[in-house]
């Protein structure tokens, strides 16, 4: 019986330690919170990523450093969540008009469906969502490798919804002027992203 007690205690300690490690100390239970937790704890430096924008030209994600970037992920055929996501970004663009005009902030919508989302589709997505001039860029990765790099770096996962569309973990990535992804906030709470920015936009 003593040996069983000893074995059980060892198992209990090892088990609780494993559970604690798997949940970052009982704080993280889903992959989504784990992704955000990890990004907050260890900001990620942006990778080089070739993107094609709505005018057909190419930019590198690294070229956008030096200002705050708020990034969301879309596919333009989406008619449900993404339309709300689009109008939230439109509102955010209005609210952040000042830092945007000063070149201190840019909104960036990246498509994870580059096969379908060409410059024309992305432009019509912006128009449909109510874009207010400059300061909101829509772009797509130019090849399969950049798409994989983009999804990995931001931790975005899109799965088929069984009806020709996608379901994805949508959120707003916050990138600081040094070019580091420092936070991921709920897309339904863009004010959180805005607060992040307005608090530090001047600095």
């Amino acid at each position: 019986m003593l040996r069983t007690l000893l074995a059980s205690l060892l198992i209990l300690v090892a088990g609780v330690a494993t559970l604690a490690a798997a949940t970052e100390g009982f704080r993280v239970f889903t992959a989504e919170t784990a992704r955000r937790f990890d990004i907050r704890a260890h900001p990620r430096a942006l990778p080089s990523l070739t993107l094609q924008t709505t005018n057909g030209g190419s930019i590198d994600l690294l070229d956008l450093r030096g200002r705050w970037l708020l990034v969301d992920f879309v596919y333009t055929r989406c008619m449900t969540y993404c339309s709300i996501q689009g109008s939230e970004f439109s509102r955010l663009q209005q609210q952040l008009a000042e830092p945007i005009a000063q070149g201190k902030a840019t909104l960036l919508s990246l498509s994870f469906d580059p096969d379908h989302d060409g410059p024309a589709e992305l432009e019509s997505y912006l128009q449909r969502s109510g874009v207010h001039g400059a300061g909101w860029v829509a772009a797509r990765p130019t090849d399969a490798t950049s798409l994989t790099t983009m999804m990995r770096f931001f931790g975005v996962k899109a799965i088929s919804d069984g009806m020709g569309g996608f379901v994805h973990n949508s959120a707003i990535g916050v990138i600081d002027p040094r070019g580091r992804l420092i936070d991921v906030v709920d897309w339904s709470d863009p004010q959180m992203a805005a607060r992040y920015l307005s608090g530090r936009a001047g600095s």
């Binding site: 069983t4 074995a7 992959a31 379901v167």
Partner: protein, 163 residues
């Protein structure tokens, strides 16, 4: 998600349970004193089970091959096998506690999956999660009814090896 949690993992447990019959007798005899009434084994199986119930771990097992490998090894050997070695040794109370906790977990997780407005796994759709919720509740209800029937009208005889 339903396939992952209600077929793949239970099948891996079953595989471990069946593999136990191939264990040499000497091994079973050697671990027996460390596993009076099956307590250590059931504890090991329960804790390992809790790890694989974390939505994060399910997602990781889908996305990351090395985690999937850990799952394929740990579920049969740390859940199926200890259960097979412990269940025959467990008395009425140990079995009761384990079954009660299993049923409570089915209800808890089932309810959570049903009411959660967000996807707990990035790899699965919301309707899949809700279907799993219903199935877990159904499994919980059937298990309760079965146990109640056993307690009221069944013949319960727990003959365990530790006397």
């Amino acid at each position: 998600m339903v396939l992952h949690m209600l077929f793949q993992i239970p099948l891996l447990v079953l595989a471990g349970w069946i593999l136990t019959t191939a264990l040499p007798r000497r091994f079973c005899k050697a671990v027996a004193p460390w596993n009076a009434y099956g307590i250590s084994g059931i504890l090991l199986a329960s804790l390992t089970g809790s790890v694989w119930m974390l939505p994060r771990m399910l997602d990781a097992a889908v996305d990351d091959f090395s985690i999937a490998l850990v799952k394929w090894i740990s579920v049969p050997f740390l859940i199926g096998m200890p259960l097979a070695l412990s269940w025959p040794r467990a008395g009425f109370v140990v079995r009761g506690v384990f079954l009660l906790e299993l049923i409570a977990t089915a209800f808890r997780l089932g309810w959570l999956y049903l009411v959660s407005p967000v996807r707990l796994c990035n790899s699965y759709l919301l309707d899949d999660q809700q279907r799993l919720g219903w199935l877990l509740l159904a499994i919980g209800v059937v298990a309760v009814l079965f146990l109640a029937w056993q307690l009221l009208w069944g013949h319960i005889e727990v003959r365990h090896l530790d006397k």
